[in-house]
Amino acid sequence: MAKIRKGVTLTLRLIALAATVVAVVIMVTSKETARVLNLTFTAKFTHTPAFKYYVVAEAIAGLYTVLALLLASKSLLSRLTLILDLVVAMLLTSSISAALAIAQVGKQGNSHAGWLPICGQVPHYCDKLVVSLVAGFVAALVYLLLLLYTLRAALSPVFAIKP
């Protein structure tokens, strides 16, 4: 029983680690220059604070996942791991939400505010951003699943009914 639990948490953490690494790497290496009427126009992730926050938050989550994988054997830290898992899950959901909010404006614009979409001019940048955001979303989802699983495992002595 404990072996299955450890196997599931290990798998989930590895998937989350892979997703955060993919998100960070692809967003950092996404850069495109477009020429519109003799003006060069560069699109980088550093131009938007939301994407900078996204990269930093995913990097922190990735580092935490590595740490949690290395310290998985010690059972004394299981309560601390649960609390930090909650913090990191909230960090991940917040960063993906912020990045998606800005990316939605970039893709569809906002006619009420007079903001034009930019994806028409820098399509490759937008494609790479989509991949990175999907990876970030997967990381957030996997972390929420991990949290639910460890919480169920931690509270199973309280169960009167076996689920």
Partner: protein
């Protein structure tokens, strides 16, 4: 009453106080953002001697991030209300219900954090614009809208912090 009972009563009162404060914060955020609307009339030109005006409205529905903010805060307020109600009416959480409460707590915390941060970064974009993407800032024209939005986001942040504090107490 023994000392352990007094301590437990104080702990329960503290948790209840945190939950009530979180409920007030998230409910305030929902209401302020949902009623956030500002209309400005601009003079566009003159026809003879009469000025031609155009009125522009800023509503929260114009931005999907703000819509998500309102929905997330409404759901978090609802959850807080349910928790307070169940504490007040003395419903016991035995067996299957206790993990369900913990799970719902976490899910609502994650939802609330996502809603708050999406709206916060959208507000930052509205306030500062983005020169690289040629997006103008809109807060200089719609100061009331931006101020009210900022207050709603701050209130929701307070609610988020208070709600993050409450799972730690039973653990």
């Amino acid at each position: 009453m023994g000392r352990a009972e007094v301590v437990q009563k104080r702990q329960k009162a503290a948790i209840m106080a945190l939950r009530v404060a979180a409920l007030l914060a998230t409910a305030a955020a929902t209401i302020v953002m949902a009623l956030n609307k500002e209309t400005r009339t601009f003079v566009v030109g003159t026809v003879g001697t009469t000025p031609v005006t155009a009125s522009v409205t800023a509503k929260f529905q114009h931005t999907p991030a703000n819509v998500f903010f309102v929905i997330a805060n409404a759901m978090a307020s609802n959850h807080n209300l349910m928790m307070i109600g169940s504490d007040l009416f003395g419903l016991e959480f035995k067996g299957f219900k206790l993990p369900l409460v913990a799970v719902l707590d976490m899910l609502n915390a994650a939802l609330l954090s996502a809603g708050v941060h999406g709206a916060a970064f959208m507000a930052q974009l509205a306030k500062n614009g983005n020169s690289h993407a040629r997006w103008n800032e809109i807060c200089d024209n719609f100061q009331g809208y931006c101020n009210r939005g900022g207050v709603a986001i701050l209130a929701a942040y307070v609610g988020l912090l208070l709600r993050s504090a409450s799972p730690w107490c039973p653990l």
